[in-house]
Symmetry: C2
Subunit: 186 residues, 2 copies
């Protein structure tokens, strides 16, 4: 009886409730990284592979739209690619955290990189969003005309590709907060 | 002699080296918040007060440039204003952290808001940057012409106003990392 109680106490010490919570949060961290990696990969591919050539042409206007016509879209593809690569590389560390939830130093390293990557992804996403908005609505003050009337399928594609990127940004915000909460409980 | 040693040990326990480091980092946190608040305030004011009317006009073109002609610039001003307001409100908490460096829960709250505000500020800054780039260089594929040849003083002003915003973004990244490091050392 006494020995059993001792064993239970020992088990509790090795795996207290806080440790269980940390393990559970590490699993959420792992899942969020996979979701964010898929989101950024999808966005980068959707943006990079889009192009539309109109079936008519004139002497003065170019009727072919591609993502690298606009520097903001190129930046968007690069940012999503870099963040996707980082997320894939961080997954092994995330799995390691599920096994060893008490580690702190590696979580700090992850927070630093997560924050930098979040800034990069947000910058890419919103620069592209600003141009997408302009493509849809144009701007009369600057005499910039909406190009979406001509390039409707191109515009649909680039608008859709923003979703994955902003979803991944949200996932990265959650990742930073989760890491901070886990670190505070050691 | 013995009493002196005891007192020294007691003082060390009340104020160990880690506590000193935390206090020092809390001061850096405080300084960064002030720098970021000034940066965002300056950016918001610089962008919001800029307008240029050209001394000539035709029937077809509008020759007056203002920040709210472009929705991205309006978003930039709002984002900078909101983040500046948040930073000013967070300063009392930051001062409180200098006095009580061992607090954790309030630091977690600050990390959550700092991360959200960092995302908002980065989004505003890079959306504006995308449009500023377009204003400087135009885009031949989309038939968007550079407007900076006409509105040179307007363009100088909006380009300059990005600096404060990106400086503040950098300060917020550092704030998140500092908070995470301080939390890990309790």
């Amino acid at each position: 009886m006494k020995a059993g109680q001792l064993e239970a106490a020992e088990a509790l010490e090795l795996n207290p409730p806080a440790q269980g919570l940390k393990k559970w949060m590490s699993m959420v961290d792992f899942a969020l990284r996979i979701v964010a990696a898929i989101g950024t990969l999808g966005s980068a591919i959707a943006m990079a592979t889009t192009n539309e050539t109109l079936p008519f042409f004139t002497q003065f206007l170019q009727f072919r739209a591609q993502y690298n016509d606009l520097p903001s879209f190129t930046f968007f593809v690069i940012a999503n690619g870099v963040v996707c690569g980082y997320l894939v590389l961080s997954i092994p560390l995330s799995i390691f955290h599920i096994k060893r939830p008490e580690l702190t130093i590696t979580r700090i390293i992850l927070i630093i990189f997560d924050t930098a990557m979040m800034a990069l992804l947000t910058a890419g996403g919103s620069a592209a969003a600003a141009i997408v908005y302009l493509a849809h609505n144009g701007n009369s003050s600057a005499n910039w005309f909406a190009i979406c009337q001509q390039f409707s399928s191109f515009c649909e594609r680039i608008t859709g590709s923003l979703i994955g990127s902003f979803g991944a940004t949200l996932a990265l915000i959650l990742l930073i907060i989760i890491s901070a909460v886990v670190i505070s409980r050691h």
